[in-house]
Symmetry: C2
Subunit: 193 residues, 2 copies
Amino acid sequence: MEKHLLLKELQSKHDFSEADFEKLLPLFEERNYKKNEMIFKAGDVVKYVFFILKGCFRQFYINANGMERTIYIMEEGRWTGESLSFMNEIPTNMNLQALEDCKVLAMTKPKWEYAIRNIPEYALYHMKNHQRMIAWLKEQLGAAVTEKPDELYRRLLNETPHLLQRLPQYEIAKYLGVTPETLSRIRKRNTRL
Amino acid sequence: MEKHLLLKELQSKHDFSEADFEKLLPLFEERNYKKNEMIFKAGDVVKYVFFILKGCFRQFYINANGMERTIYIMEEGRWTGESLSFMNEIPTNMNLQALEDCKVLAMTKPKWEYAIRNIPEYALYHMKNHQRMIAWLKEQLGAAVTEKPDELYRRLLNETPHLLQRLPQYEIAKYLGVTPETLSRIRKRNTRL
DNA sequence: ATCATTTCTTGATTTGAATCAAGATTTTTT
DNA sequence: AAAAAATCTTGATTCAAATCAAGAAATGAT
């Protein structure tokens, strides 16, 4: 029997036992989202934390003039959600959308609190995950402003080349923070291997 | 006797008892940094987590071409450091510099681990703090790309007006991600109340 | 297979910030 | 108080990406 995607993720980042996994897994419920469906919008209180079993999501920000920017794209085997809103039951300023038909494991706040209190290794895994996220966001913020679009594209090509196959170009453009026209030109410039 | 700055911060974000504070405080040592001193640089392993008692710091990113971008500026009553590097004893990709003569409370990793294990409320406070930081960074990233520099300046003017008094303009410029010349023009445009 | 829709490419033009280059002003040092 | 250094302002020019505007190509529907 194949190892569960969630167990794989937990063990890849932390020393997580199968016994703890047996306690954790039943706390989730399975949910499905259709392509382009909005999971939450700015102003909503986020009701679940999500572990992605199939498909991918984008989390994005919309400013006062309606300009949007994709903050990250998460695929299967990763978490998504918005923990500040989720934990404190306050409105989020982010938006989450399914980019494909998706299947997730979703956990509500009472069950999540139970998990944090009763599965110490889950709390520790969680802390590590947050640290990683903070470091990643700081680097993204640094890179977003100091790097030229061509360089940002090459980074993506290096770090997550499969995303360029998986997603339409206008989604990549929103992620890089350029217009689709500019991305088209970047690709032309960078195609001559 | 006045309430300790650290206790104030802990209680403002979490239900933190004075008894727990008595256990936490001795784990720190006081350290001083001179204006412009580098606390750590990209490639270093970060040895402490810092709570700022006096002064302010900037954390910044330097890209491959030497372009730099200030990620955040932290003042007294706030934390700084780089927890991914600190916790995992791996090199950081960030730089931390004192912008004034500073005094901090610094905690080493063994003591921090002791605190996390033995003062559960500190672990919870810590988790909340991380969530807040993630939400803030996501918003910063969204805003950095979607907003025009004038709007970013007005945000700063709204959210942390005292920083504009406290710091030279070229530091504000690095934080906003524009050149000092551009900031000078932005200020001119936005000064007519 | 054809038509319609969505996505991508290419060119021309506009726009806003970076860069380059002096000066002016403020702060620090002596 | 004068001199030196650091910081800030202003103007002219350059440059890169956004915008505007068609078309071309790919995808999906009938």
